[in-house]
């Protein structure tokens, strides 16, 4: 295709003006008439049996309309008790026992939030405490207390997850295993063996908009749920199963979200709010407090063991990985996280012998789920850190070691399939060049030292999956795009409009976008996995082309030419040979139908497959390829690490909106820096002790580097719209290892536990100093 009009342009978001004037409505900004306010009573214990619940006093408080406890849920004919996207291990409220501090036990709906709050204090619950499982090691211990007995699966699970599941009688929520070649043989043939353990703590997404959900039943029993949700179709499916309804009787609507980053996927508040509305017979809304957000979902804490065998010239011959992920009290989407974390645990390298085991473990802590990077940032932290340890031991340039082993175009992934449309080498070379790899710059102060570090990444997108779109050409020649993709800030509405505008030759300001309403927009699996541009973007392109074809056929009859000879341009049609004057879409529709009010509807569906016709397995519909290069300054006196300069190169296929691409890369980097240097959830026993922004540190203006250089590599993907692929998670994944590698380059210490706090750096520096003294003393003695 030749020159584009809006594709490749950094157009601002369609809703920009609403966003800078405070007019854009987030869910909590809207109030339904008659809305009741819901509050949730939560468990104070990590693991306990519920002996008795008495809600009598709470029910009597004026203003309280409904109190929901297990007594309402058990044996209720209107709905089931259990739900869960992969394993039905969650309940609307706790039934027989609570499994973490924060587990919902009861809920109140009242005429004001203050009354609801007061009522909660009147609910009496007697518990019998049980021994708790507090980390993944304890979860695997012999005779460990069990969190769950037998777990049911949903009626229809996800296509990519038929093989996952709980190991009965244990706390193993899922075990993923992958092997290629013969690792033992690989290790025998290796000249050097490296074994390390790396840890990555639980963290919080910290979307500034909280979780909200509003549920309302109409008199016929139709249920409408407004929710801060990235994947409304999954919620519809879960709620329809839970409430015994066909999909047509459940409507889920998501407005614009104030950030998601993976937190707003899968059921959170919806089952409880719907059950509360069912009992109250009035619409009920719940918006969580900040502390409750921290008690709802986290990023998986991980312990990663990596053993690597290399030849003396730096070829990786074998790699064995074991990833233990702490998934908290409920499975949520954890099994998929463990699978994804497992697939890429050996890194973006061509390695002949690989053995990977990824264990997902139940503990009595806040559930962990999807977090931008989806398990890959944890395994990447391990293998990319170890790459530099290996390079150092072999006295090799870390860039050279990576180049030598990198999985590039046509290379064989651990699953045996060939990777294509992934410009790994180009990303690595460009990121390194952007920080002037191989040179050293001067620190700002004498006590500081500067260093540089690299990290590469590969990640898969969810496969197989489906996205459908509709494009409606309105009777005036403008168009409306219907997509189930939720815009949470990434700019999907705008990109979808750009695609429709480009295909239909309609100015961008005449394109409207309707998103994420399961009654209006066709099916989309999810807004996650950085999949929307590739999947939904392509579906919109197909839908727009469907409209173009209809227009061409209509015009062909009028112009007396073949449809292929009709040219669409400037919101109108003309015969290619200019034998007739051009007609606007508006005039064409009027002429064709003879009456105002006719519009055209185009459809597009993208379905990706996990097995090709030739039987070849497809792990991912497209691959994220990228590389980061960090330059840091480490203060030897304080242990403080400051990221000075940072380059992130991503293969985006084609940058449909370069500004948005760069925002994803800069933004992902900044969150990555937060996770690398400061963010961690801290537990005392089973109690999360920093569930707020005062005690949980997030990157602020003073923590952001002077320069983040986004590098957009465009190796077109044959199936992406205009060649485009996703990039939402690319930047976050390599940040921590790139920074840790730069820290070692600067001051010679290796940090293996995240976050890289000043305390950890200082103690590593002290230890190094002591070893040096010991060595020199020993050498003097001898």
């Amino acid at each position: 295709m030749g020159k584009f009009s809006v594709i490749g342009q950094s157009v601002p978001r369609l809703e920009s003006e609403e966003k800078v004037t405070g007019q854009l409505k987030f869910l909590d900004d809207l109030k339904l008439p008659g809305l009741l306010y819901g509050k949730i009573l939560r468990s104070p214990h990590a693991h306990a049996k519920i002996l008795h619940i008495d809600a009598g006093q709470a029910t009597k408080l004026p203003g309280v309309v409904a109190v929901l406890t297990r007594d309402d849920v058990i044996g209720n004919q209107a709905y089931d008790s259990h739900y869960g996207p992969i394993l039905k291990d969650q309940t609307i409220v706790a039934l027989d026992k609570v499994r973490y501090v924060g587990d919902p036990v009861a809920a109140v709906a009242a005429t004001s939030p203050y009354v609801a709050e007061e009522a909660m204090e009147l609910i009496e619950v007697d518990y019998d405490e049980l021994p708790a499982v507090l980390d993944s090691e304890e979860a695997l211990a012999e005779n460990a207390p069990l969190l769950h007995e037998k777990i049911q699966k949903p009626r229809q699970g996800f296509a990519d997850l038929s093989d996952v599941g709980h190991v009965e009688g244990t706390n193993i929520c899922n075990h993923f295993h992958l092997s290629k070649g013969d690792v033992e043989k690989g290790f025998r043939e290796s000249d050097h063996i490296f074994e390390h353990v790396f840890t990555s703590p639980a963290a919080q997404h910290a979307a500034l908009e909280s979780f909200s959900a509003v549920a309302s039943f109409d008199s016929s029993g139709r249920l409408t749920i407004w929710s801060t949700v990235q994947n409304p179709f999954v919620i519809r499916d879960q709620i329809a199963e839970l409430f015994h309804r066909p999909l047509s009787k459940v409507r889920v609507i998501a407005l614009h979200l104030g950030g998601g980053y993976g937190s707003k996927l899968y059921p959170k508040l919806e089952p409880l709010v719907a059950a509360l509305a069912h009992k109250a017979k009035r619409p009920v809304g719940v918006t969580l407090t900040r502390e409750e957000v921290f008690l709802t979902i986290t990023k998986h804490a991980a312990k990663i063991y990596v053993k690597t065998g290399v030849s003396k010239n730096g070829r990786i011959l074998a790699r064995e990985c074991r990833v233990d992920l702490d998934t908290g009290a409920y499975a949520e989407i954890g099994p998929r996280v463990s699978k994804k974390s497992g697939y890429t645990a050996a890194g973006p390298y061509e390695i002949p012998n690989v053995l990977i085991d990824s264990y997902l473990l139940y503990t009595n802590k806040v559930p962990a789920g999807a977090f931008r990077g989806f398990g890959v940032s944890q395994s990447n932290w391990a293998h990319e850190s170890q790459m530099d340890i290996i390079a150092r031991a072999l006295k090799m340039d870390p860039l050279e070691l990576r180049r030598k082993n990198l999985l590039d175009e046509g290379g064989e992934f651990v699953t045996g399939e060939r990777v294509h449309s992934a410009a790994m080498m180009e990303c690595l070379n460009k990121a390194a060049a952007a920080v002037r790899w191989g040179t050293r710059s001067e620190p700002a102060s004498k006590s500081a030292a500067r260093g540089k570090g690299l990290a590469c990444l590969i990640k898969a997108t969810i496969t197989p999956s489906i996205s459908s779109a509709l494009v409606r050409l309105n009777e005036d020649g403008s168009a409306t795009v219907y997509v189930g993709t939720t815009d949470m800030g990434q700019g999907s509405d705008t990109v979808m409009a750009q695609i429709a505008s480009e295909e239909l030759r309609i100015p961008l300001d005449q394109i409207g976008v309707v998103h994420s309403d399961t009654d209006l927009t066709p099916y989309d699996l999810t807004t996650s996995s950085s999949r929307s541009t590739f999947h939904m973007g392509r579906a919109v392109q197909m839908a727009a082309r469907d409209v173009s074809v209809q227009l061409a056929c209509m015009a062909a009859r009028l112009f007396n030419v073949g449809p292929e000879e009709v040219v669409c341009e400037n919101q109108g049609v003309r015969p290619g040979d200019n034998s007739a004057p051009s007609l606007s879409y508006n005039a064409l529709l009027l002429k064709n139908f003879g009456i105002k009010g006719a519009n055209l509807i185009g459809k597009g569906t993208v379905k990706t497959r996990s097995t090709l016709d030739n039987g070849e397995h497809v792990t991912s519909a497209f691959w994220f390829a990228g590389a980061a290069a960090a330059e840091v300054e480490v203060d030897r006196d304080t242990g403080q690490v400051r990221v000075v300069r940072y380059a992130i190169a991503a293969d985006v296929g084609k940058a449909l909106n370069p500004l948005f691409c760069e925002q994803q890369l800069r933004g992902g980097t900044i969150t990555g820096i937060g996770l690398a240097l400061m963010e961690q959830l801290v537990y005392q026993g089973g109690l999360l002790i920093n569930p707020n922004f005062l005690d949980y540190n997030l990157p602020r203006f003073l923590d952001v580097p002077e320069e983040i250089i986004p590098i957009l590599v465009e190796r077109a993907h044959p199936e992406g719209p205009f060649g485009a692929k996703g990039l939402g998670e690319t930047a976050l994944i390599p940040a921590a290892p790139a920074i840790a590698n730069a820290v070692e380059d600067a001051v010679g210490v290796r940090i293996t536990e995240l976050p890289i706090t000043p305390e950890r750096v200082l103690s590593a520096l002290q230890q190094k100093q002591e070893e040096k003294v010991k060595k020199s003393t020993l050498s003097r003695v001898s």
Binding site: P12, E17, G22, F660, Q663, F693, L694, L702
Partner: protein, 160 residues
């Protein structure tokens, strides 16, 4: 016990009856009907709920309504005049200074307070001043770029 207060919001006087425990944020979003100011941390540390009270930035989540009585409050809704965006709002759009924009109302008002107080801030001063506002999408560098462009504009105006 409700109390009668008078507060000026974006130039309009509001006579309200509020509970002593109600925060300025709750009053703005509730009876005043302006939802552009957002609740983030509820702890005065994220800046989402920033408004200007008598020209100074405050976290409206941590100011009681009764303490706002008699004061002048400027919220994001009061910034554009006669449908014309304020230069800060224009700069935010031009430099891509937001993604989800949940933090944007607070940040724009924080930037206004900064530029009102310091006509020519250094980079470090800008970062310090805005350090109380969290942007989780990570648009910090774009926001700084927007602020620099505003400083350039005012510099050019001075020279002209």
């Amino acid at each position: 016990m409700k109390r009668a207060i008078q507060v000026t919001v974006n130039g309009g006087v509001h006579e309200l009856s509020v509970e002593p425990r109600e925060t300025l944020l709750e009053i703005l979003r509730g009876p005043v009907g302006l939802t552009g100011t957002k609740l983030g941390c509820d702890q005065q540390v994220c800046g989402s709920c920033t408004v200007l009270m008598n020209g100074l930035p405050v976290s409206s989540c941590s100011v009681l309504g009764v303490d706002a009585a008699g004061n002048e409050v400027l919220t994001i809704e009061g910034l554009a005049t006669d449908g014309e965006l304020h230069p800060i709002q224009k700069a935010f759009i031009e430099h891509g200074a937001f993604q989800c924009a949940y933090c944007t109302s607070g940040l724009i008002l924080a930037v206004k307070a900064l530029l009102d107080q310091l006509p020519a801030p250094e980079e470090g001063q800008i970062r310090h001043f805005l350090a109380g506002n969290i942007c989780r999408c990570g648009c910090h560098l774009e926001i700084l770029q927007a602020v620099r462009s505003l400083l350039q504009q005012s510099q050019q105006r001075k020279e002209a």
